[in-house]
């Protein structure tokens, strides 16, 4: 399957496609070049000199800096450190037990003895990057550690000393 037109993929990223257009994308044989196409479009949009290697999640990217290090960066420019460490360790955290009634109300609030919300914000732009549903004292969930084809894990770990 060849690449879809750039404009279609831009609209996909910006949430501008109709449900019918989304369905068409879901039904088609997956275009093998999508990852490269999205990286190219995001690189153009953000205008960074450091190449983007991966779209990690909403707002967050793995970029390669001039010294060869690979870090997690927010689209506002805020950096979160090496991509092999959980970016949440460098975020702002707000634990919400529901008693403020600012999100869920009445019986929709979970019993805090079972379940609380842990919100992670970008220290730069305050975007809400993740909401963990966890009990108290649960370790941060490290959602995704990518494996890059050009960097075998063992070799990489040895080089960085991690």
């Amino acid at each position: 399957m060849p690449e879809n037109p750039d404009q279609l993929i831009r609209d996909l990223l910006r949430g501008r496609l109709s449900s019918l257009e989304i369905e068409r994308l879901q039904r088609q044989d997956k275009d093998a070049g999508r990852a490269r196409q999205i990286l190219r479009l995001e690189q153009e949009r953000l205008g960074w000199s450091d190449p983007i290697l991966l779209c990690l999640q909403e707002h967050l990217y793995v970029v390669e800096q001039a010294d060869g290090s690979r870090v997690v960066r927010c689209d506002c420019g805020q950096e979160f450190g090496d991509y092999r460490r959980n970016w949440k360790e460098a975020a702002l955290v707000h634990e919400r037990d529901g008693s403020d009634g600012e999100v869920h109300r009445g019986p929709r609030i979970a019993d805090p003895g079972w379940s609380i919300l842990r919100e992670f914000y970008c220290p730069g732009c305050a975007a809400q990057l993740d909401v963990e549903v966890v009990p108290r004292a649960y370790p941060f969930i490290f959602n995704f550690q990518p494996d890059f084809a050009d960097r075998p894990e063992a070799e990489e770990a040895e080089r960085s000393g991690l």
Partner: protein, 716 residues
């Protein structure tokens, strides 16, 4: 060793040694048209079985809701093709057939043409007592050449509570009538003594018995059609093609993984809980999904809570079924659905855990945490899609399941027992590109329907006063989760009825993704000794739903009575009187992305459709909107959103500071019992989790989580 046992052994050797199901795809490569033609005809046969059988059954589960599936299997029990329907059971009839072969059924009681074996033992195959399957052998000139099978979800099982979903079951023996691989028909005729057993063993036998006949009908259709195909294509071609279809799927699945998922390690956690009085325990369902560069998908559930005496857990076949169901729907949706899907994926489920209990006595009526890890596995797949740019496949978590159960004498004076199953049309997950659909479906059955209210009123005496979209049910987000259904019922037409409910622990029900909020906790209201008859007689307004504030629902404000709130939706069946009211809800989907990035036009659309409220528009989405005209004030909206960002920076703390504070809470063992019991159980059963936990919190050597129940014993 029986001939089939030898065949099964040979099949296992082939898969283990070759790493593939069939060495060469000679038929596919030699005559691809004929190869695909046969497959399409096999699919036609399982599809016509599905369509005819659902009309044979009297159960709304099969007729209206599509909780039914048929399949064709190899002689060794591997699925070749499945109909549409209840996809979680891609593997369950396979397990049943293999179990019978391993037990020597071929010799005794034998596999004769026209024999039909029944199973609903989830430790053999299936998810829980209501999942009932039938298989029959297909013979051709003295050789067993395959199996035809069908499965239904039956709304009553003869358990200690009506309806099959039994939230307070302490053992298997509370869950109902189990028939583990029992012959229920011979010479294509149902055994009468079996029907008597069912007539006297469960509350509403008509569903069980007509479902049974539906499955036998469907299996006969497949058997007949397959014999016609063997006549047409030749038995050797048929047998070889069936094996190649499986290998074809395995290869295609591997290619799909390599093409669309980014290699790496993905971690998610699903949660459920046991609500057994006195031992309420949160259940931990972690998943570590590894996508290898070679295109292998490995799901590791190390750290899963230990099994316990509660029904919020599942068997190994359940967890296999749930993960396969998620993988098929989100990854392998357009492949041939068969055993090849399983061969492309590795599952690691700890022995003794709530996904692999240590003995068959452990109850499994509610699946619970196995559903949790199944859905969490879907989240992991979503992240792997996102990384490769396929945003149209990315989604938050599906809804939990919840409903009411009832039993007693129905409005016609007949004994009855059943659950309502409108949660087959719960709210779907929010996605990375659009909102979750309202009242749309559930993860375990992609084609589920809620069923007409009138049908439910036929088989269950309570009448609908309202059936509404659950306003603001879906988790908030840039793209919100889909809203489920909430219904308000009136007990009527019977003086002998008990009403119960099942759901989850009082936890957030469906997590969001990448900044989206989860759907709220599940809950049920019961109002007894109400004045509803008086309100109706006087022509006073009666409630049509919950209204705009879930903390003060319309039905509680408008109808006098003794109102009881049941957090989590689990309620043991209790007698009800005519005029009592109660609610039941389905789950809602999780949200995607930061809610203050939501397009204000979508908030306005939701207000117009009455599926969100002005409170939520302002407080959660920070959208300034005129309550009369619904015009959005863009400037004010931007001001509200900027204020929210500043508030976030003000109230949050840097992660390291947060961790230092939480560490103190942990060191003081200052945790509520459901949470403390979870940690105590998991830290004691999983060395890997214990190490990761101690490392994260930098715990001193020798630190131990107190046993919350040990403490209470000492106090006592």
């Amino acid at each position: 060793m029986t001939p089939l046992q030898e065949q099964l052994r040979e099949r296992d050797r082939r898969v283990t040694e070759l790493g593939r199901y069939e060495e060469k795809l000679e038929l596919k490569e030699g005559d691809p048209i004929r190869f695909e033609l046969l497959y399409s005809k096999i699919v036609q046969s399982v599809t016509s079985a599905h369509e005819v059988a659902r009309l044979v059954s009297a159960s709304p589960m099969s007729r209206e809701l599509g909780e039914i599936i048929f399949g064709l299997y190899t002689p060794e029990g591997d699925a070749v093709a499945l109909s549409r329907g209840l996809l979680i059971h891609v593997h369950t009839m396979s397990r049943m057939i293999k179990w019978m072969i391993e037990q020597g059924y071929e010799d005794d009681p034998g596999f004769a043409e026209g024999d039909y074996y029944f199973n609903n033992d989830p430790y053999i195959g299936g998810a829980h007592c209501p999942d009932q399957m039938i298989v029959t052998p297909i013979w051709w000139e003295g050789d067993l050449v395959g199996w035809a099978g069908g499965l239904t979800h039956t709304p009553e099982t003869g358990g200690s509570e009506p309806g099959g979903f039994i939230p307070f079951a302490r053992s298997r023996f509370d869950e109902g009538l189990f028939l583990p691989c029992v012959k229920v028909a011979e010479n294509d005729r149902v055994k009468r003594d079996l029907e008597v057993l069912v007539e006297r063993g469960i509350r509403s036998p008509i569903f069980w018995l007509t479902d049974n006949r539906a499955k036998i009908t469907g299996a006969q259709i497949i058997r007949t059609e397959v014999k016609g195909l063997i006549q047409q294509f030749g038995v050797d071609f048929f047998g070889k093609a069936c094996r190649e279809y499986i290998e074809d799927t395995r290869l295609a699945a591997q290619q799909r993984i390599r093409k669309v998922l980014h290699p790496g390690v993905y971690r998610e956690v699903g949660w459920r809980g046991s609500v057994m009085p006195g031992s309420e325990t949160l259940l931990h369902g972690p998943v570590a999904m590894t996508v290898t560069r070679e295109g292998r998908l490995v799901f590791d559930y190390e750290g899963l809570s230990p099994a316990g005496k509660h029904p919020f857990q599942g068997t190994l076949p359940t967890i296999e079924g749930l993960v396969m169901n998620v993988a098929i729907q989100h990854l392998f949706y357009d492949l041939k659905h068969n055993e090849g899907v399983l061969l492309a994926v590795d599952l690691k489920v700890p022995e003794g855990s709530a996904g692999n209990p240590p003995s068959i006595f452990y109850p499994t009526a509610l699946w619970g945490i196995t559903y949790g890890v199944g859905l969490a596995s879907g989240q992991a797949i979503s992240r792997a899609y996102y990384a490769n740019g396929y945003r149209e496949e990315v989604h938050a978590t599906s809804a939990l399941s919840s409903a009411y159960t009832a039993g007693g004498l129905d409005q016609y004076g007949r004994p009855f027992g059943a659950h309502n199953f409108e949660f087959a049309a719960a709210g779907l997950f929010g996605t990375a590109v659009m909102d979750g659909l309202d009242t749309a479906g559930v993860e375990f059955n992609p084609e589920g329907e809620m069923g007409d209210a009138e049908i439910w009123e036929q088989i269950l005496p309570p009448m609908y006063l309202a059936r509404e979209i659950h306003t603001d049910g879906g988790g908030y987000g840039k793209y919100r989760g889909g809203n489920g259904v909430q219904s308000l019922y009136l007990v009527w037409g019977t003086k002998d009825i008990e009403i119960g409910g099942f759901g989850a622990a009082p936890i957030y029900s469906a997590p969001g993704l990448m900044g989206g909020y989860p759907a709220g906790a599940l809950y049920m209201w019961v109002g007894s000794r109400t004045n509803i008859r008086q309100l109706i007689a006087e022509g006073q307004p009666i409630p049509s739903g919950e209204g705009e504030d879930p903390a003060s629902p319309d039905f509680v404000r408008m109808v006098e009575g003794r109102w009881e709130l049941i957090p989590g939706h689990n309620r043991i069946g209790r007698p009800a009187r005519e005029g009592d009211l109660f609610t039941a809800m389905t789950g809602d989907g999780g949200g995607f992305g930061d809610p203050i990035e939501r397009d204000p036009a979508l908030v306005r659309r939701d207000l117009e459709n009455l599926v969100t409220t002005p409170w939520t528009a302002r407080h959660v989405y920070c959208v300034a909107i005129d309550p009369e005209s619904l015009e959005v004030n863009q400037e004010e909206t931007e001001r509200l959103r900027q204020a929210r960002r500043e508030e976030r920076k003000r109230t949050a703390v840097p992660a390291q500071e947060y961790k230092a504070r939480q560490r103190e809470v942990l060191l003081q063992n200052d945790l509520a019992k459901p949470t403390a019991r979870m940690y105590h159980g998991v830290l004691g059963s999983s060395e890997a989790f214990r190490r990761a936990f101690a490392e994260f919190w930098e715990l001193p050597d020798g630190w131990q989580m107190n046993d919350p129940d040990g403490e209470s014993e000492e106090v006592a």
